[in-house]
C-alpha cells in the first residue's frame, strides 16, 4: 500500500510530501525523505519497548497504568516532562493530568528554544511562514544553526533552492551563514561570517547601534551584513541553539528579535527559530492555549503559574524538589545534567515511550506506546507555527500517548 503526503515526525521542518510504502503492516520503502527521516520510518520497529514494566518485571498495560497513577496521585510535587515528540492531543491530555495532580509540567523547549520564548515575551517577534520565505525571500541568514546536518531538507523545501512565486531558484537568493565555525551549511552560503564564540550579543548590539545611526564604525563583515539586510527586499533570519544556548541565552535572542524589528524600518524582515523536535512548537502552542504559558508551568496551587528557572524540569530536578516524575516521549537521562537525571533515578519515574531508552532503564514504570506519526495520528506544529496532521500508516496493538493519558486521568478522577 502506498501512503502519499505523509508528514515526517522527526524535525521541525515537518516535511509533508513523504511517500511511504507498506507491505503486511511493515514499512518497506520511503521516498522524498532525508536520510534521518528514512531511517526513522524504516527502523521504527527496532529497539521497541516490548511490554509494560514495573520494577523491571513484565506486567499488563492496566497494571502499569494503575501503578503509575498511584505513584503520581500520592506524590507531593510530581513533575511531567517531555511532550515535544508526541502529538498535540496527547499534550493536551498531559496538561489536564498535570492540573488534576497539581503537578509541574515542562516541555523540552526549556533545554533548547526556551530562551527564544523568553526573548519573544520581552521583544515580540516579526514572524512569517516558511511558504512566504520560499516565495519571497531574497536574503536568507542562518545564524548559529546548521540545517545541512540537523534540518536536512530545509534548504531544498523552504529557503535556498525551491522555485517560489517571486524567487525562481538559488541564483535569486543570497544566503549568509553566521557561525563560530565553517559548518556544512556554510558551504552553500554566498557569504560566511565567522564570529568568536559567545560574542553574538555584542555583534548584534553593535549592528543595531549602527543601524540606528548611533555608531559610525563596525567591523567590515558586520557592516557588509547590515547593508545587505537594509537593502534586501524580503529578509529572513533562521537561528538555532548557537544563539539560544550560548552565553547570554535569551538576551541573544532578545537582541536578534530587536534587530529584526529595527530592520523593518528599512525593509521587510522576519525571523524564525529552527525548532528541533518535530512538535516542540506544538507543545508550546498547546500549553499556551490551555494554560496561558508556553512552558515551565506549575499547578500546585490549583491554577497555572509559569516561571522558567523555578518550574523548569532541570532546575526542579537539580534542586530535588519533585518526588515523582512522568516522562512522555523524551529521554532526559540521556541529555540532562548529571545532578538532574540522578534525582530522576532516585525518585519513582514513569516513562511513556515506544522505544527502550536510558530513561526507561532508570524508570520504575515503563509504558510502551504507539509512535506518533507512524502508529498513531494527531496534530503537530511546524517550526513556523503551521499545524499539520500526522498520519497513522502502520497498525499496532499499542495504545497512543493520548489513550494512556486518558486512562490515567480517569483513574485520578475516580
Amino acid at each position: 500500500m502506498i501512503h502519499e503526503n505523509v508528514v515526517c515526525p522527526f524535525c521541525g521542518c515537518l516535511c509533508d510530501d513523504i511517500v511511504v510504502t507498506t507491505e503486511d503492516n511493515q514499512i518497506t520503502d520511503v521516498k522524498n525523505a532525508c536520510a534521518i527521516s528514512k531511517s526513522k520510518f524504516l527502523n521504527h520497529h527496532v529497539n521497541m519497548l516490548e511490554s509494560a514494566l514495573v520494577d523491571g518485571k513484565e506486567v499488563s498495560m492496566d497494571e502499569a497504568v494503575d501503578r503509575a497513577t498511584e505513584i503520581l496521585s500520592s506524590a507531593d510535587n510530581p513533575l511531567i516532562y517531555g511532550l515535544s515528540s508526541t502529538e498535540c492531543e496527547a499534550q493536551r491530555h498531559a496538561i489536564h493530568l498535570a492540573e488534576l495532580l497539581g503537578a509541574t509540567i515542562d516541555q523540552t523547549a526549556s533545554v533548547c528554544h526556551g530562551p527564544t520564548i523568553l526573548g519573544t515575551q520581552d521583544a515580540g517577534c516579526v514572524k512569517c511562514t516558511l511558504g512566504e520565505v520560499k516565495n519571497r525571500a531574497d536574503l536568507i541568514i542562518y545564524w548559529g544553526c546548521n540545517p545541512a546536518e540537523a534540518h536536512i531538507r530545509h534548504f531544498r523545501r523552504y529557503s535556498v533552492f525551491p522555485e517560489g512565486l517571486f524567487r525562481k531558484g538559488r541564483n535569486e537568493r543570497e544566503v549568509v551563514v553566521v557561525d563560530v565555525r565553517a559548518t556544512a551549511s556554510a558551504r552553500i552560503a554566498t557569504t560566511f561570517v565567522k564570529t568568536e564564540p559567545g560574542t553574538d550579543f555584542e555583534n548584534i548590539s553593535l549592528m543595531r547601534a549602527y543601524l540606528k545611526g548611533k555608531r559610525d564604525s563596525l567591523p567590515d563583515e558586520l557592516r557588509d551584513l547590515v547593508e545587505k539586510m537594509k537593502t534586501c527586499t524580503f529578509g529572513i533570519i533562521f537561528f538555532g541553539l548557537g544563539l539560544t544556548m550560548s552565553k547570554g541565552k535569551h538576551l541573544n535572542v532578545d537582541a536578534a528579535l530587536r534587530l529584526v524589528r529595527d530592520l523593518n524600518e528599512f525593509t521587510k524582515f522576519s525571523i524564525t527559530p529552527m525548532r528541533g523536535h518535530y512538535n516542540v512548537t506544538g507543545a508550546g502552542s498547546t500549553m499556551a492555549w490551555v494554560t496561558g504559558y508556553p512552558f515551565s508551568v506549575n499547578f500546585a496551587l490549583g491554577y497555572p503559574l509559569s516561571n522558567p528557572g523555578e518550574f523548569s524540569a532541570v532546575d526542579v530536578l537539580a534542586r530535588k524538589e519533585c518526588d515523582a516524575a512522568l516522562i512522555i516521549a523524551s529521554d532526559p537521562a540521556a541529555n540532562f545534567p548529571a545532578e538532574a537525571w540522578k534525582h530522576l533515578a532516585d525518585i519513582p519515574t514513569i516513562v511513556m515511550d515506544p522505544k527502550v531508552s536510558l530513561t526507561t532503564r532508570i524508570a520504575k514504570v515503563s509504558i510502551p506506546v504507539a509512535t506518533a506519526g507512524i502508529e498513531a495520528e494527531g496534530t503537530a506544529y511546524r517550526m513556523d507555527g503551521i499545524p499539520l496532521r500526522l498520519k497513522k500508516i502502520v497498525q499496532t496493538s499499542r495504545p497512543s500517548d493520548a489513550a494512556v493519558l486518558t486512562k490515567m486521568i480517569e483513574k485520578v478522577r475516580a
Binding site: 510535587n77 540606528k212 538576551l251
Partner: protein, 268 residues
C-alpha cells in the same frame, strides 16, 4: 512570633501568609491555622512550623531555604530570617523590613514597590528583577546584599536602590529603566544590556559592552548627596569619604536602545 521550621525534604513550600500584614490582629491559634502549600498539598502553618509567641511584633524564622514568598506584598512590620530563605522573598513588598542572616534564593525583592531587604549572605538570580513578561522590576525600596548576587540583578528596574557588596553575575541592570545599582565587587559581563535609563555605580573595573560610550571623568553631584544619605542607613555599607568626593568615569548606553543609562566607574 517565632516560627521554627519542621521541614525535612526539599519539596517547596508556598507561604505568602508569612507576612506582618497577614499575622496582624490574629491570635496564635488563628496564625497556626493559616493556609500554606507543601508542594501541591494544602496544609496549616502549624503542620510545617513550630510556632511560638515570643511577645515580639517581629516575625522570626529559622532557616527556610525551601519556603517561597516570605513577606510577599507586605506593607509594614518586620521579618527576620535566622538562616537562608527561599525564592521570591519580599516579592512585590510595599513597606517594612526583611533581614536575612544567611543567603536568599532567586527573585528576592522582585517587583518590590517599597520597604527594605537586608541580606547578610548571597542573593540568587533576578534580585529586584521583573517576572517574565512584566513591564518593570523593582520600583522603589532598598536592597542591600553583603555577599554576591546572581545574574540579571535589577532587570527592568524602574526606581529604587540595590547595593551588592560582593560580585555581580552577568547581565546586571539589563533593560534597566531607572533606579540605582551599586556594586563593590567585580561586576559580570554584559552589564546594563538594553539599558534605557538609570545608574550603575561600580568600584571595580568592568568589562563594558561596546554599546556604552565614554563621556567624562567627574564627580557627580547627585552621587555625593546619594551616598551621604545611603551611609545613614543601618546596614554598614562601605561608603568612604573617598567614594563621596572622588572622581568617576562616566559611560552612557546602551546606545542600541535609548542610551540614557549611565555607568559610573570609581577612579579615585
Amino acid at each position: 512570633m517565632f516560627l521554627n521550621p519542621l521541614l525535612k525534604t526539599a519539596i517547596p513550600v508556598t507561604a505568602p501568609c508569612i507576612a506582618p500584614d497577614c499575622f496582624s490582629g490574629k491570635s496564635v491559634k488563628e496564625i497556626k491555622a493559616l493556609t500554606v502549600y507543601y508542594g501541591n498539598k494544602e496544609k496549616h502553618l502549624q503542620d510545617l512550623f513550630d510556632i511560638k509567641d515570643d511577645g515580639q511584633d517581629v516575625i522570626t524564622l529559622g532557616s527556610v531555604p525551601t519556603v517561597k514568598y516570605i513577606g510577599k506584598g507586605m506593607t509594614a512590620g518586620s521579618i527576620v530570617v535566622k538562616g537562608d530563605a527561599g525564592m521570591h522573598l519580599g516579592a512585590e513588598m510595599k513597606g517594612g523590613r526583611i533581614t536575612v542572616e544567611g543567603s536568599v534564593s532567586d527573585w528576592a525583592g522582585a517587583e518590590m514597590k517599597g520597604g527594605e531587604i537586608f541580606i547578610a549572605g548571597n542573593a540568587g538570580h533576578c534580585l529586584g528583577g521583573a517576572y517574565r513578561g512584566s513591564k518593570s522590576g523593582m520600583n522603589k525600596g532598598l536592597i542591600v546584599v553583603k555577599g554576591n548576587a546572581g545574574t540579571e540583578v535589577g532587570g527592568l528596574m524602574k526606581k529604587g536602590i540595590i547595593v551588592v557588596e560582593g560580585t555581580l553575575g552577568d547581565a546586571a541592570g539589563c533593560n534597566m529603566k531607572g533606579g540605582t545599582l551599586i556594586c563593590y565587587g567585580r561586576p559580570g559581563d554584559r552589564l546594563g544590556a538594553f539599558m534605557q535609563r538609570g545608574s550603575i555605580v561600580l568600584y571595580e573595573s568592568p568589562y563594558l559592552l561596546p554599546t556604552f560610550t565614554y563621556n567624562a571623568v567627574y564627580n557627580p553631584t547627585w552621587l555625593r548627596v546619594f551616598l551621604r544619605e545611603l551611609a545613614k542607613t543601618p546596614y554598614k555599607i562601605p561608603i568612604t569619604q573617598g567614594h563621596i568626593e572622588g572622581a568617576y568615569r562616566r559611560y552612557n548606553g546602551d546606545i542600541s536602545e535609548l542610551g540614557k543609562g549611565e555607568i559610573l566607574v570609581f577612579q579615585g
